[in-house]
């Protein structure tokens, strides 16, 4: 699957190496959403790809993209569960949610980003898979290894949590 130079690790070739090079930036973006931290994101991507790499030596991986996404999602849920950011309340904002000005939209998104990071790891994974990966409920359930109803309930809880934070901030601003 891959060949490593006898001179060290200066050359890594093969199908998996090409996959890693081609998909690394996109995987890093996903990991940043799942972890909320650039350093943890790098760690999650490299660890997940290392697992893929080892698995690829033992067997052919038909869908490496799906394989590594599953590892990343489960890794983010299990490993980063105890590393939830404590900054759960957004900073003050200048206007109500729904403002049409571009600057307002950026403020809203910053506020929402902090709210997303305050979600429990599994809820955050569901939100990322649904709204970034655009996956349907059944595929999310497959990735997380849970029932479709669990995905639906996690999404509902996430919405309630996010809405409450946004509403609280709106109230504080008034």
């Amino acid at each position: 699957v891959q060949a490593v130079s006898e001179k060290g690790w200066s050359v890594v070739e093969g199908e998996l190496a090409d996959f890693v090079r081609g998909r690394y930036p996109a995987l890093l973006r996903r990991a940043l959403l799942l972890t909320g931290d650039p350093g943890h994101a790098e760690d999650l991507v490299q660890e997940s790809l290392a697992k893929l790499w080892l698995a690829g030596r033992r067997q052919h991986i038909d869908n490496p993209e799906g394989y590594v996404l599953r590892i990343m999602v489960n890794g983010s849920v299990s490993r980063w569960r105890r590393l939830r950011p404590v900054d759960t309340v957004a900073a003050g904002r200048d206007d109500q949610l729904g403002g049409t000005d571009a600057a307002d939209r950026v403020v809203e998104q910053d506020q929402m980003w902090r709210a997303i990071q305050s979600l429990p790891a599994r809820q955050r994974a569901v939100v990322v898979l649904r709204f970034y990966e655009d996956l349907p409920e059944e595929r999310i359930a497959e990735f997380l290894g849970v029932a479709r109803g669990t995905v639906r309930s996690q999404m509902a809880k996430a919405r309630v949590h996010l809405r409450s934070i946004i509403t609280d901030t709106e109230g504080a601003d008034r």
Binding site: V12, P25, L28, L33, P38, H40, Q46, M112
Partner: protein, 203 residues
């Protein structure tokens, strides 16, 4: 806020923040291959150590070679200074003059790491101040400290480094503003003088 507005804001937010993730300079395939090899060694060691211990206990000396092959080598004590020991090492009295965009402050531990490796590390840190495709240049990049994290040979070792990095405002990177701790793996072939560096946030 109705569900539609909330969902739209969620999607916009995720896509905007995802774009902030920029990879470190270098070849990710090399990092992953190296990390996979380390992971495999750990797995082999975890499996082999109890077996070898049981064999040694039973007096099967022949199986001892399995243990020595499988377990990760432990660096000599001199290659893994403790924080206390590193603090006791005097700072150089004649620092190298500062270069553009790169502080030349000597790190607090300077021993046993091959000079070629340190030269390569300093060059890599300095490169962070140079613009690269897909990554803005750091305003300042300084090597604050390093220590040996694991040592297999002069051709294969890992340093734990602390960098002080500063980026232009509104720049988001895989690096943090200010202090950054990273593991840097050094490797080179038996007949090569040039090290390959691999940056990672964990072992």
């Amino acid at each position: 806020v109705n569900d539609t507005d909330l969902d739209e804001l969620l999607a916009d937010t995720l896509h905007r923040h995802a774009a902030r993730a920029l990879p470190l300079p270098g070849d990710p395939a090399v990092w992953v291959a190296r990390r996979a090899a380390r992971r495999r060694r750990r797995i082999v060691a975890a499996v082999a150590a109890p077996v070898a211990a049981a064999a040694a206990f039973a007096g099967f000396a022949l199986l001892g070679s399995f243990h020595t092959d499988a377990v990760l080598p432990v660096p000599p004590a001199t290659h893994a200074p403790t924080p206390t020991a590193s603090a006791a090492i005097p700072q150089p009295t004649n620092p190298v003059p500062e270069e553009t965009g790169h502080s030349s402050d000597e790190p607090s531990v300077v021993r046993h790491v091959p000079a070629a490796g340190l030269k390569r590390l300093r060059a890599a840190v300095h490169q962070l101040t140079e613009p690269m495709p897909g990554r803005p240049a750091a305003l300042r990049a300084r090597l604050v400290h390093y220590q040996v994290d694991s040592w297999r040979s002069p051709d294969d070792f890992t340093l734990l480094v602390t960098l002080d990095l500063h980026f232009p405002p509104q720049t988001a990177l895989a690096w943090n503003e200010g202090s950054n701790g990273r593991f840097v793996h050094f490797s080179r072939g038996p007949h090569s003088q040039t090290y390959q560096l691999e940056w990672a946030t964990s072992r």
